[in-house]
């Protein structure tokens, strides 16, 4: 796709240098012009002083990756050059401030264009402070690559008007100083991007999950802070009053996971989110939701593991975890493929949870949850709310209600507590259709065995019903059906693999892409058939041990033996996958 007009920008500095706000300013400038942005934030588990950077790929068409080599860099602190100069694309341009970076950078590389600004000289007016260096450099950057500078002016108005007009104005002046400097000093940069004029949203996957939950009728949300899942808590907390949501930060993940079971039992749509380590604590509750048949949604955001692992880095290694728990109970596992899908799947998960009265797990990862991207405004009108066999009332003279009535599809009519004359108790121990426990004095007696043999299959039968009803999507194939090589991925790697496939096909290679969004339950026969129809499959997994291949093997008996893995803490890029395909000679064109 050599026609694709895009530019890769990296903004780097110390934590606290204003990387996030510079990124937001730059991203909004692009998204309001109708350009597409995909941005990835590389950060550390430190609040100040660590080295962080944000890479944004801006294009006239949808950008599927944050890209490898930056063409433009904005370096905010002393340690930035040694980290980022080696990564730059030849001919790239670098902006920095002379008070922060004093070294002669041409010594490091002489194939780049360096632009050194002097904040003290250029912004010598009242109200400025050295923390605004990033604002000046952003002005120079936005001017240099031919973007609309007026959005920046609006941005300061929106961001700082509550702090007072002086703050707005001083930021605008500093920003303008960067613009004016660039007008005079920066030679024409080869890429001048033109947007299509459509305003798009610029947001993270976590924001999209939150919006999807609200669209899908979420009422109760409980969580304990843990990166990279905390963004959902922050988003929903901000909307709580406006959308009449119960948003509760609990004392730990055990409480959060159980709190939503209480709300779910009451008849309210409820969800929680955590990272892998927190989900470990939630597994006990997951089984309870399965046993009590309470609709609940758990977002589990993967990051580098095991244990505390690499808290701020990417990995896809929690399939085994979300399939865990003691005993067997029905569940659904969904791994959304991108930011748009995060919105759709969050709302869908709430529906599936209620229809089947099961825990639904949304398996996200650090990349999907935290990276910023431009997307079209979400279409809330497309979200439907389906409550399944939900009942708020039941006539008092109706036959005695059985909460766990055995049905052909495994789903019992669900009367939520409060109705007169139909009291029941839900039991975490094995129980009969009424909810009566058969675990204590009845255990081992013929009646208890009979109950067990009825109730356990009744619950598990729900997984068959999900497949029969067509509620679980098969993996999708994009690209030519008869391709010589199939790249198999799941969850957030969708865009990277698509990007790689486009490049490989442009190079004349015969490649397609098989992608799983719904991971479990799996239609064994159909998935096996689909896999068998591929010529040669290579798995692309952001983990070391191919957890998805193992799930597929266990479910279908189909073994995928070749793979591209990345577990250094970074997400894939299209380029990375292309290089691996070529390096490992995975395909003979």
């Amino acid at each position: 796709m050599s026609e694709k007009r895009n530019v890769i920008v990296r903004i780097a500095g110390a934590a606290g240098d204003g990387i996030a706000s510079t990124g937001e300013l730059f991203g909004k400038t692009c998204s309001r012009m109708g350009l597409h942005v995909m941005a990835y934030n590389s950060y550390q588990s430190a609040i100040r002083g660590g080295h962080v950077w944000l890479q944004l790929n801006v294009g006239e068409e949808k950008t599927r990756c944050h890209g490898e080599q930056p063409e433009v860099a904005l370096l905010l602190n002393k340690t930035s050059p040694e980290v980022h100069i080696p990564d730059m694309k030849p001919g790239g341009i670098v902006f920095y401030d002379v008070s922060k970076i004093k070294d002669d950078l041409t010594v490091m590389r002489d194939d780049l264009n360096y632009y050194a600004l002097d904040f003290k000289a250029l912004c010598d007016f009242e109200g400025t402070s050295p923390v605004m260096v990033n604002v000046m450099l952003a002005g120079a950057l936005i001017q240099a690559i031919g973007l609309d500078t007026s959005v920046g002016m609006e941005f300061f108005e929106e961001k700082f008007s509550k702090k007072g007009q002086e703050i707005v104005e001083v930021n605008q002046k500093v920003f303008n100083a960067g613009i004016e400097w660039a007008k005079e000093n920066v030679k024409d940069f080869s890429v001048a991007l033109k947007g299509d004029g459509t305003k798009r949203m610029f947001l993270t996957g976590n924001d999209a999950f939150g919006m999807g939950f609200i669209a899908g009728g979420l009422k109760s949300y409980a969580a304990y802070p843990m990166s990279p899942a905390t963004g959902i808590l922050h988003y929903l907390s901000r909307q709580a009053k406006k959308c009449k949501l119960l948003v509760k930060q609990t004392e730990d993940e055990l409480a959060a996971a159980n709190f939503i079971i209480g709300s779910g039992q009451a008849g309210v749509r409820s969800a929680t989110a955590t990272a892998g380590g927190g989900f470990c604590l939630m597994v006990e509750a997951l089984g309870l939701a399965g046993m009590l048949e309470v609709p609940t949604v758990y977002v589990s955001v993967m990051r580098g593991g095991p244990s505390t692992g690499i808290p701020t880095k990417q990995e896809q290694a929690d399939i085994k975890l979300v399939m865990g728990g003691n005993g067997d109970f029905p569940r659904i596992v969904i791994a959304p493929k991108d930011t748009d899908d995060a919105f759709v799947q969050a709302a869908r998960a709430l529906n599936l949870a209620e229809k089947y009265q099961v825990p639904v797990i949304i398996l996200s990862d650090l990349f999907l949850s935290e990276h910023y991207q431009t997307v079209d405004p979400f279409d809330f009108s497309k979200v439907t709310i389906e409550r399944g066999k939900y009942m708020r009332e039941l006539p008092k003279d109706a036959p005695r209600y059985k909460r766990y009535e055995v049905t052909d599809d495994g789903i019992s009519p669900r009367l939520v507590p409060g109705a007169d004359g139909h009291m029941y108790c839900s039991g975490s121990d094995e129980h009969d259709e009424d909810g009566e426990l058969v675990s204590d004095i009845l255990a081992g007696l013929p009646r208890a065995k009979e109950v067990r043999l009825k109730m356990h299959p009744k619950r598990m039968r729900k997984e068959e019903t999900m497949l029969k009803e067509g509620d679980i999507a098969l993996p999708e194939i994009t690209g030519p059906a008869d391709a010589k090589l199939t790249l198999m991925g799941w969850g957030s790697t969708f865009d990277y693999i698509e990007d790689a496939c486009e490049t490989l096909r442009a190079d004349g290679l015969s490649v397609n892409h098989l992608h799983f969004t719904d991971l479990y339950p799996m239609d064994k026969e159909k998935v096996k058939e689909l896999l068998a129809s591929c010529n040669e499959i290579v798995a692309v997994e952001n983990n070391m041990t191919n957890q998805m291949c193992k799930l597929i093997l266990g479910e279908t008996g189909f073994e995928i033996t070749r793979s591209i893995n990345r577990f250094d803490g970074e997400p894939f890029t299209g380029e990375y996958i292309v290089n691996e395909v070529k390096k490992k000679e995975l395909i003979n064109a």
Partner: protein, 293 residues
Amino acid sequence: MPDTTDREITVKDFKGHINPDWCPGCGDFGVLNVLQRSLAEMNIAPEEVMIVSGIGCSSNLPGFINTYGMHTLHGRSLPIAQGFKLANHGMHVIACGGDGDGLGIGVGHLIHSMRRNVDMTYIIMDNSIYGLTTGQTSPTSGFNMKTKSTPFGNPELPVNPMALAISAGCSFVARGFSGNPKQLVEIYKAAIKHKGFAFIDTFSPCVTFNKVNTAQYYRENTYDIQEDGHDSSDMQAAFARAMEDGKIGTGIFYQKERPTYEEPEKETFDIPLVDQPLGVDEKLANELNAQFL
């Protein structure tokens, strides 16, 4: 909140269709009877009540009473009960369980529930022993007490539930004894009526595994603090009663109403969440999208 109905409620309304499987003479029978009486005397209807328990002998209680119930996980009754209450604040929510459940595995939730002050009641049925697992030391087992897991004597001091609750900001702190139903019914009624998180540690002797803290022991060693002139609005006095050595006080140690968790969030809780429409209208949807444009 509707705490009376237009029909007259009696103890019979709360009679469960399953007979308790507790050992004959277990203190938990007394707790069950008193709870049924308290609800009936307050004219609360069975369908207005949700009882959430954890795991243990005492946690089987919801199965033996005719109200809505949940039998859940060891130590987790409180988060579940709060999640339920806040989703449907029209119902009375009562959590119950043993001393191991509430003061051992679930003690973290207990402390935070007390400071959070959701409007609900929590009854610990305290027998100072792990009964369902056949007799190990519990968080309220006395120092040096011999149990199956401490054959040479318990080397740890017991938790002081009253002092713990008062210091954690609990707005209603009481202690009762299942062998003193006359006092206990008044405590439970006051607890259910209390707006906020009400905690009652209830001595409920285990006849099988605890030969120290027997019904006889409690009859001989407890006294009614209200009869002794205790002022339950005085926190310092409550601490003093909680720290007493020798005689064991029962009654309401401390009670002071303060805003419940729900109260500051009036916009959200004007009607129970379960009765609110789901999803957002077009105007609000546009507003949510606009935040990111």
